[in-house]
Structure formats: structure tokens, C-alpha cells
Amino acid sequence: MTVNAHPQSAILGIPRPTAERGLVSWLTTVDHKRIGILYGITALFWFFWGGLEAVLIRTQLAFPNGQVVSADTYNELFTMHGTTMIFLVVMPLSAAFFNYLIPLMIGARDVAFPRLNAFSYWMYFFGGIFLNTSWFVGQAPNGGWFGYASLTEHPWSDMYKAGTLLTHHGIDFWTIGLQILGISSVVASLNFIVTIINMRAPGMTMMRLPVFVWMTLVTAFLVILAFPFITIALLELTFDRQFDTMFFNATKGGFPIYWQHLFWVFGHPEVYILILPAMGIVSEILPVFSRKPLFGYPVVVFSGAAIGFMGFTVWSHHMFTTGMGAIANAAFSLTTMAIAVPTGVKIFNWVGTLWGGQIRFKVPLLYAVGFISMFMIGGFSGLMHSSPPGDAQQQDTYFIVAHFHYVLIGGSLFALFGGIYYWFPKFTGRLTCEKMGRFGFWLLFVGFNVTFFPMHWLGLNGMPRRIYTYPADMGWNFWNLICTIGVYTMLLAFLVILHDLLNGYKRGAIASNDPWDGRTLEWTISSPPPVYNFATVPVVHSRDELWYRKYPEAFHDEAGHEAPAHGDDHGHHDAHGIHMPGQSWFPLLASFGFFIGAFGLLYKVLLVGVGGAAFGFLNVYLWALEGVGGYEINPEVES
């Protein structure tokens, strides 16, 4: 292997970093695989953090008249639990898979804009820190993850201490923190749209893309089209709070209900932003462990796209009880029932994939099948509240809590953990322990159902959400205790899974390039992949390209002729070598500037706000001026 370095230019005396290992190499990395790993580890950290918040919530509710936390702390806990799990865990964990896998699956060198990709990660990194700084100043967000006005407006969001009203900055941490995370998500999505549309290897037509890539594309479009609504909503709320405007302040003529519309126009597509990547992962796992092509590939793809479109037409089903009127309720009820159709189609396709396959029940398949069954339970309870009269009974009860945890844990999280187990050999070059993995899965499966299934009954018995305690004579004591036992089981399960992953990383058996008999391009290269990904640009002939190469006899066309010979299989080998972009400090420094500026906006310190933003923009400028840089690498080509 030969490497030709480009002359490295220094900007303002800052030399271009070239470290290959150590802290600096991670801080300045532009490699999509490393950024994917950073996303994954950061998301898992917040996952345990948000999980501890959930454990505290359930400990408080284990017995009636709980005394573990105060009512104020309880409000902060459920707000931060929801915000953390959605914006700091599920979205970035999906982003970890996008980053690591999309270039590998489409046969590309990297994403379209490697430094912009690093910027997305660092905005997420600092956004998470910004939000959680609120705990350390003792003013965590306390208005629920959807922050309904008027609870988020002064003076209702403020606190009485010893008879005087004191400003509480919790909501400011929430509004500004979510803006930082929103920039991260939108920028990353623009990057993935360009990557997927424009960087596919020769022969990788759109209808040969792995389903995970398709779902990523739909998700990215949802992000860029839905996030502007919460950006505006949060901007208006920030203005209400910092500059005394009146967008959602009812006492000055604003409509609190308008916040709900803006929030849910974002919030419902957000639900699909959380679930579509999970559906993509499951669609990758099932064919491999059934040894069959995905059943009805085009239908799965079109259903995913249909869900994306229809996701924008259902937002008001979150607001059936706000008095929108019979016509609006009926319309949104119909659209909500309709969106269950493409979702149901996918379920049948997954079952069809398993049907008649040579099934190997490895850990990833356990999670995938767990996903299908648990997601269906969540889907059915979702259908129940698509009916406005039914919803009127269920609104703001534990029935809703049960519903969305079945969708988000039994759905998204099961699939994401299945994805971790499935691609673990590719990420680390090692295998996890099959026995320990199974044990972790079943413990999680049982713990999850013990925690959340009883919440259906609690909800139908009238237990409301977001109450910090309840009296002993409501008939809720038994099931609340069971739920709490369940949550401790889940905590144990996640520790087992974490132990299994760490153990696999340190001591696991060495994995081959293709340990599962995989079907897609990422399994054609070594585990873990080399820094340049593909020594030669792959040429794609089939939706299941690796199977096409391994088992050409299985790819007869309809007339019985053999598949065309592998004419130009060696792909394009560029004599100049593969261009590797240079590392850069500026994505990190720019994000850091905006992070500091955010504190200035929060505490209304002009110098810090303007100074931080100016430092951020200065680094964006330097980033533009430093150019792509980098070096050329000439890997040995196997023939």
C-alpha cells in the first residue's frame, strides 16, 4: 500500500491535523465510520442516563404516596426522560447506523461532505451537554417533551420560592438545546440525501438500494421538511420568553393551541423519523437469517415512502380532545387509520420473508422478530386511539404511555439493538457471545412487557400521565409495583447486553468478512473495514449483490438462462489512488462557538452570545478556506 500526502496548508497558524490515533484523531476525524462510532457511543451514554431517569420515575411510582422525589423534580424527570430518549438516544443511534453503513452499502468512499458530517456530530455532542447542563444549575426543563404553552411561558414556567416568583430557566435550556440538536439533524440529513442520491456505485440503481438505505433517504427527507416547523415554534417560544413577544401567550392574545399545531406538524413526522430507520434495519436482518430475498422489495420501499408522505397528514390526532370540531376530528381520524395500511403491508412482507425460509435464530433475528411482534402491539393500540371517541377515554392516561413505549422500545429500540448485534462483527471485527446475547434479549423482552403491558390496564382504569404520586385507594397499587419491578428487570437486561458487547469487543472470537452469509456490499470488505472502504469501486449487478457473487447459480433469469457473467467485476481502480479528505479542527470549533453562544442567549449576556456565534462563524469561514486537503492512498488490489 502506498500513500501520497498532499501538501498540508496551515490556516492562521493552525496546522492541519494528521494524527491517526489518539484523542486528536477522534476530535478531528472526518471518517464516516469513526463518526458513526462516536454517534453510537454518545447515544448509548445518554441511553443509560435517560434510563436512570426512568428508573427514578418508576421508583417514585412503585407505591402510592411515593416520597422518593418532589413534584417539581418529577416534572423535570419525565420531561428530560422523553427529550433525552427521543433527541439524544433514538435519533442519534439511528444516525450512528446511517453514518457507518450508508457509504458501505452503496459502495462509496465516504459521505458527500465529510467535514459537514463531523459538524453534525459535534452539534449533537454539545446539544446533549447543553440540555443536561440544566441539571447542574438546578433548573432542568419541566414542561413535558412537547412543551405545551402556556406551561412554557412566563410566569407559569417560573417557580415560587419562599413566596417570591423566581425565573426558572428550564424551558430555555429546552428550547435552545433543541435548536442546536435540530441544526445537527437537518445538516446530517442534507448530507445523507446527497450521499444516497449521488454517490451510488455503478449499477447500484435506486431499486437495488438496500431497504435500510431507502428508509434512511425517506427519514432524511422527513427531517428536512418537518424540522423547520419545530425550529419556528421554538424560535417563537424563545422570543416569547426572551423578548416579551406574544406568540403563544393567551393573556396577550396569542393562541396556545397554535403551539400544539406547530409542534405536532413536526412531532408526528418525528414519530416516523424514529421508526423508519428501525424498519430498515429489520428489513436487512430478516432476509439474511431466513436465507431468502426480502419478500416484495418494491412494495416495502413504496410503503416506506407512503408512510413518509402520509406522516404529514395526521398530526392533529394528537389533539382530538382540544375541541377542533367534528369535521377536523373525522378527517384526521381517517388519515390516521389510512397510515396503518402501509405499515401493515410491511408487517406482511416481513412475515412473508420469514415464511418458508431456512431460519437461523441468531441474536439479531431474535430482536427483529421481537420488533415485529412488539411493534404490532404498539400499532394496534395506536389504531385504538385513531378513533376520537376512544381517544377521548385514553388521552393523557397510562394507556398512551403504554402505546408509545411499545412503539419506541418494542419498535425502534429492539430494532436498533438488533442492528448493533447484526453489524457488531463489521464494526469491531469480533463476534459477541451468542448465549449471553440470547439471555440479554429474553431478559429485556420479559422486563419490557412486565413494565409496559400493565400500563394498558392502569390507563383504562383512569390513571393519568405525569402525576408524581397517587392515593392508595385508586386500585392502581398492584400494577404500578409490577411496572416498577419490570423496569429494574430492563435495567439488568441492559447491563447484561452492555457487558456482552464490551466482552465481545475485548475477547470475542475473530469475525470473518462475512460471518452471517450476508447479502449486501458491506460484507464484501474486511471487518472492521479499511479506512478507505473499497479498494476498487464495486460494480453492482443485483439487489443482493454479495449473494449474486457467492451463489450465481441462484440468479437465473425467468427464461432459465444463467445470470450474465461477471464482466467488469473488478470495478474501477483509479491509478491515482483513492482520495482521503484531510482531518479538520473546524467542525469541532464551530460547534463549540455556537454552544457558547447558546449560553449567552439563554442568560441574555450579549457579549457571550455574540462572541460565541462570531467564533462559530469564524470557524465556518476557516473551514471553507482550508479546502478538502488530504492524501491519496493506493491499497493493494486483490485479483
Binding site: 462509496a108 468512499r109 442520491i197 455503478p202 418537518a226 413577544t245 392574545g253 406547530l262
Partner: protein, 213 residues
Amino acid sequence: MSELAANGHHEEVDHEVGCLGIPHRKIMMWAFLGSDCMFFGALILTYLVYHHRHTEGPFPYETFNVVVTSLSTFDLLASSLFMVLTLAAIQRNDIKWFRIWCGLTVLLGLIFLGFQAYEFTEFVHEKGLTLSKNLFGSTFYLLTGTHGTHVAIGVLWLASLLIYSFNGKFDAKRALDVEIAGLYWHFVDIVWIVIFTVVYLLEILQNAGVPKA
């Protein structure tokens, strides 16, 4: 799909053309503009939702000076023409006329911002319309202020390209940089046409019979 972006590029200029035959950065800008449409859509929606929902003045029809805003609108639209000429100049490698047209585009952008600064000052001091005065103030300033911020970013962007063009290496190979800045600039102009129509012109039509206060 013959040449793949991943093959790398050996010139200093970063014009990666992908399998659609379109440079990455151009697709990126179009996708971003799609996102920005929703952004302005939400702001205009907010303005319309709260239109005439306040009982306390000042009201739009007694605040706007449509003659002045028409002039600034004409100014911004003219800048779009100069933007087209800027791009045409750099594409034919005419660096002198690139600088002239680009400078004029920046100038007209600055004049528009000057009009806006004048308008805001007059509204606050003469008409008593502040950000927190009533819903009209809140929605009007946030909408037009956000648009003004977009114009200011465009001015900075084009001015940066103009300054950058004096480094001696700026030629037709950098036309894509100018084209992408141009896409953004035209978008910001088009948004202003919508805002001018919805916020100012419809107000005049609606209140054609109302005498000015």
C-alpha cells in the same frame, strides 16, 4: 454513472459530480432550499393565523408605507438580474465583469437592508410598533426580520466571493461556487415576493376603502 465521485479528484477545486451528473453541492443547496421553504412557510403561516387577531393598534394598514416598500422590492428584484449577470460573467471567465456585477448585487442587497432598517426604525419610533406591542408587531418583525437575516447572509456570502476573487486563482472553474450562492440569492428574492404580496399588497387590497389614519 461512468465516473464515480469516490474515485477522487485531483484538482484543487472540489467539484464532485455524482451519479446524477450533478455536483454534490448543488443537490445539497436544492435540498436545503426545500427545507427553507418549510421554514418560511411556517413563519408566513404564523403571520396569517394571527392576522387582525389583535384589538390594540397599531394595525397593518395604518403602519405600512407601500410606496417605500415597493421601491425596496424593486431594488431586491433588480439584484436578482445582476446575480444572473454575475454568474454569466464568471462562466465565460470574464473576471472584470464578474466583479462589477457581483459588486452591484452586493450593493443592491445592502440597499435593501438599508430600506429595512429605515422601515423598522420608522415603525418603532413613528408608529409605535414594537416587537412586544401586539401580535402584529411580534409576527411582522419575526417574519421580515428572518428574511432580512437571510439577505444579510447572502450579502456576506457574495461579498466573500468578491473579495476571494482578488486572490488571483479565481476563474471559470469556480463558477459552481457562484452558481450555488446565486441559487440561494434568487430563493431569498422569491420569498420576498411572497412576503410582499401576502403581507403588504393583500393588506392594501383588503383595506382599499379604509382611509389611512
